[in-house]
Amino acid sequence: MSRIEAITAAVPAAVAADSLGQAVVRVPRESLPAVAAAARDAGFTMFLDLCAVDYLTRDPRFEVVVHLLAMDPPERVRLLAGVPGDDPIAPSITGVFAGADFYEREAFDLFGIGFSGHPDLTRLLLPDDWQGHPLRKDSPVGSVPVVFKAASDRTHETSVGSPSSGHHEPETAT
């Protein structure tokens, strides 16, 4: 029995598929820790990656993607778990793979997906008091319009922001 078959046998809710020649297992989000444990027992002992994707118009909106690796013989598997946009919570797999810690924090930081059971779900890459989750598709890139000196009337050096926004009092953060 191949490793993938061992996973789908252990957790019936998991569905194996193929994506451009790569092995993929789709799981409902509640079964993610069970499938991760089954994968580890089937031979995928090394944790590689956990990330999130925002599909915006699809339902479920988010997808948590886990990549695992088996060493001997080398084989990879990808676990996909859909997470709905109105209830962005997934169970944490830090109990199965300790290395998922930082990756889940990063997914929380950039996408706002909560991981229940994570020991310390705080922002990782962005400052603590940052508002919003920038990698969501409805979040803009955040580019700042660049004004060239020759085009502006001002005499001081800063060139960021539109010419009118130079000196007004800042609004308090809402």
Partner: protein, 156 residues
């Protein structure tokens, strides 16, 4: 440059020039390498392009012992207060070289995460463009700064 004694005269200007000469000949940088530009900054200090001939190979770990801060790399929003704190700890006279495109203007990353130009946070004396600027560009920037200091002493 007027002195307390009155308008500049031959004595004060010569003294200022001597002081500027001394300052430029041993300007110690604070190590503030952030990203790729830091690698080229290290390359400028290494044997091939030698910063030691300008008296600058000692990158001081403590900003209190440094005169020059070369901001080498992209400054993220999280790093900006740290940058300012390090700059404030340096003693006068101090200068800042903004090395690379990201430090000068935000570079190719015009997005939420970076401060668009380190001159939003600290006053900059010389901007060195490049991504990353090669060691020769950085040295040109350093020499330009030295000229600036000496020109100021001459009252230009």
């Amino acid at each position: 440059m007027a002195s307390p004694a009155g308008p500049p005269n031959i004595l004060t200007v010569s003294f200022n020039r001597a002081v500027a000469w001394a300052r430029t000949r041993s300007m110690w940088p604070a190590s503030f390498g952030l990203a790729c530009c830091a690698i080229e900054m290290m390359a400028t200090g290494a044997a091939h392009n030698d910063l030691s001939r300008f008296g600058m190979e000692v990158f001081r770990a403590s900003p209190r012992q440094a005169d020059l801060m070369i901001v080498a790399g992209r400054v993220s929003q999280k790093m900006a207060p740290v940058l300012r704190q390090v700059y404030d700890q340096m003693a006068e006279p101090k200068w800042v070289i903004s090395m690379g495109a990201c430090a000068s203007t935000g570079g190719m990353f015009n997005n939420y995460a970076l401060v668009q130009g380190v001159d939003q946070v600290v006053p900059v004396d010389v901007y060195v463009p490049g991504c990353p600027p090669g060691p020769q560009s950085l040295m040109h920037g350093i020499l330009t700064l030295q000229e600036q200091i000496q020109d100021k002493a001459r009252g230009r």
